[in-house]
């Protein structure tokens, strides 16, 4: 069912939700915004910006540094408890919400479930805020998403000016909306039109039809030598990416704890082996890896592109590398037809 949440009602409603959940919302942080626990200061909420947070909300489920266990010198080990505290994310964009469903295929798969991830996912409800004015640097529609994509959301929220229109999508969502005024059919129609307009307003950033085949066929193309020239090999794109999930496990002896930390394929030490051999010795292999993983290997694994088009890598790359341009160019590479 559909409901209306007026702007004036937001503080009251969030307070009510805070009784059952820890509410987390995008709020002012430094010069930009971040997902922070809501502490009753409605003026801090960032629901208007036509942009996203910089630091991705995947950190709410896969913290950048997470304790896995602690140990004593005489060999006693203990695990921290799982995080089962009920949380409500209020205002995560559709690209980020969909990204969580993609990460579920990694951390909550048939053969393996990560208990830390699973516990957090099960304890968290998500109210997705759709983008009525998608940014120029976003490209969710190019990668099978949309500004109002519903995958992974308990409620989808649309900005209609004086209020937000809420569409409950799951029983959890319905429960949250209890007590809110119902939306009229007229409002529903207005919202449907708004959502459609936002979606079709986004131009196609690059061609995905045949992209994987082209990338696979050009693994050894000199294109990769060219595309990596200005890449710094830092971790900005991967750490800000909502679908990147690689991690490194480190025993920090000074703390007697084992931690899991985000890792990035862009660092040279990422693939360095104990022998000293590095199968990705230069930036060429590593930049190629990043693009191939997202647009070819993910497709091999789950049949979907591993990118949701949030645009963070485009906005914050220190050297202005734009993945959309890189893929447009890659798409023009020849696909040789080999004769048996």
């Amino acid at each position: 069912m559909n409901y209306i949440l007026t702007r004036n009602d937001i503080p009251k409603v969030l307070e009510k939700w805070s009784e059952a959940y820890q509410v987390i919302a995008p709020q002012k942080y430094s010069n930009f915004s971040a997902f922070l626990p809501y502490e009753g200061k409605a003026e801090q909420l960032c629901l208007e910006y036509p942009h996203n947070t910089r630091y991705p909300p995947k950190a709410l489920f896969l913290p950048q540094s997470e304790e896995l266990l602690k140990y004593t010198k005489d060999g006693q080990a203990s695990e921290p408890g799982l995080d089962t505290k009920p949380k409500l994310i209020f205002g995560m964009h559709a690209c980020d919400t969909r990204a969580m469903t993609l990460l579920d295929t990694v951390f909550d798969a048939k053969d393996y479930q990560d208990p830390f991830w699973k516990a957090r996912r099960e304890a968290t409800a998500i109210i997705t805020l759709g983008c009525d004015e998608p940014c120029k640097t976003c490209f969710c529609t190019t990668v099978e998403g949309s500004p109002f994509n519903r995958q992974g959301a308990d409620i989808i929220m649309t900005n209609i000016g004086e209020a937000f229109h809420l569409e409950a999508l799951t029983p959890k969502g319905e429960k949250l909306c209890k007590g809110l005024p119902l939306a009229t059919k007229a409002k529903d129609r207005k919202v449907a039109k708004l959502q459609e307009q936002a979606t079709i307003s986004m131009p196609k950033a690059f061609e995905t039809e045949g992209l994987k085949a082209t990338l696979d066929a050009n693994f050894d193309n000199n294109y990769w030598e060219e595309v990596q020239r200005s890449c710094l090999g830092c971790g900005v794109c991967t750490f800000l990416c909502p679908t990147c999930f690689c991690f490194d496990i480190a025993d920090e002896a000074a703390r007697s704890k084992r931690y899991r930390n985000w890792d990035t394929c862009m660092f040279s030490v990422y693939s360095k082996e104990a022998s000293g051999h590095n199968p990705r010795p230069s930036r060429k292999e590593r930049t190629r890896q990043r693009l191939m993983h997202k647009y070819s290997y993910w497709v091999d694994q789950i049949g979907k592109i591993g990118c949701t088009g949030c645009g963070r890598c485009v906005r914050y790359c220190p050297v202005g590398l734009d993945i959309r341009a890189m893929l447009r160019e890659a798409g023009t590479l020849p696909v040789e037809v080999t004769h048996a």
Binding site: P63, Q64, S65, E66, E67, R255
Partner: protein, 147 residues
């Protein structure tokens, strides 16, 4: 540190104490709140040693080596003096008081000097109190985004 005793880490080169009584003292009879880290030369002292000591809870760090003219390795202490003084200045800049890092450059005749210097240092640090800054490697003090 208890209310009375500051933690002091002494980084000292192995050559600067000429008298055997002094050598025995630093190796065997240092008070409990003082910890010796002996290096081959002060030139070996990486500023990260000093930082790690501070993060582990050192209220004061003493760096002791030979006077410029008498370095066993000729120039080790010269580089150390420049580097470690600059590091002291940087740490002071971010709030770790410069008087918590003390340099003692010894001469061959300085028998009994190290004990005196440490005693004075301990007294000064007791007046200053615990440092309270940068103590992020001590268990219970870690802090940060995920602690």
């Amino acid at each position: 540190m208890s209310a009375q005793e500051p933690n002091i880490v002494l980084f000292q080169c192995q050559w600067c104490l000429y008298a055997k009584t002094d050598q025995d003292w630093v190796e065997n009879a240092l008070p409990e709140n003082m910890h010796l880290v002996k290096t081959s030369c002060t030139g070996r002292i990486n500023p990260l040693f000093v930082l790690n000591a501070i993060q582990g809870g050192a209220d004061g760090v003493m760096i002791s080596g030979c006077k410029p003219e008498v370095c066993h390795f000729k120039e080790g202490n010269l580089g150390a003096r420049r580097q470690l003084t600059a590091f002291q200045s940087l740490l002071n800049h971010i709030g770790y008081d410069r008087s918590r890092i003390r340099f003692v450059w010894m001469d061959l005749q300085d028998t009994g000097r190290i004990q005196k210097e440490l005693a004075v240092f301990e007294k000064d640090l007791t007046e200053m109190g615990m440092s309270g800054v940068l103590v992020t490697r001590k268990p219970g003090f870690e802090g940060g985004m995920h602690d």
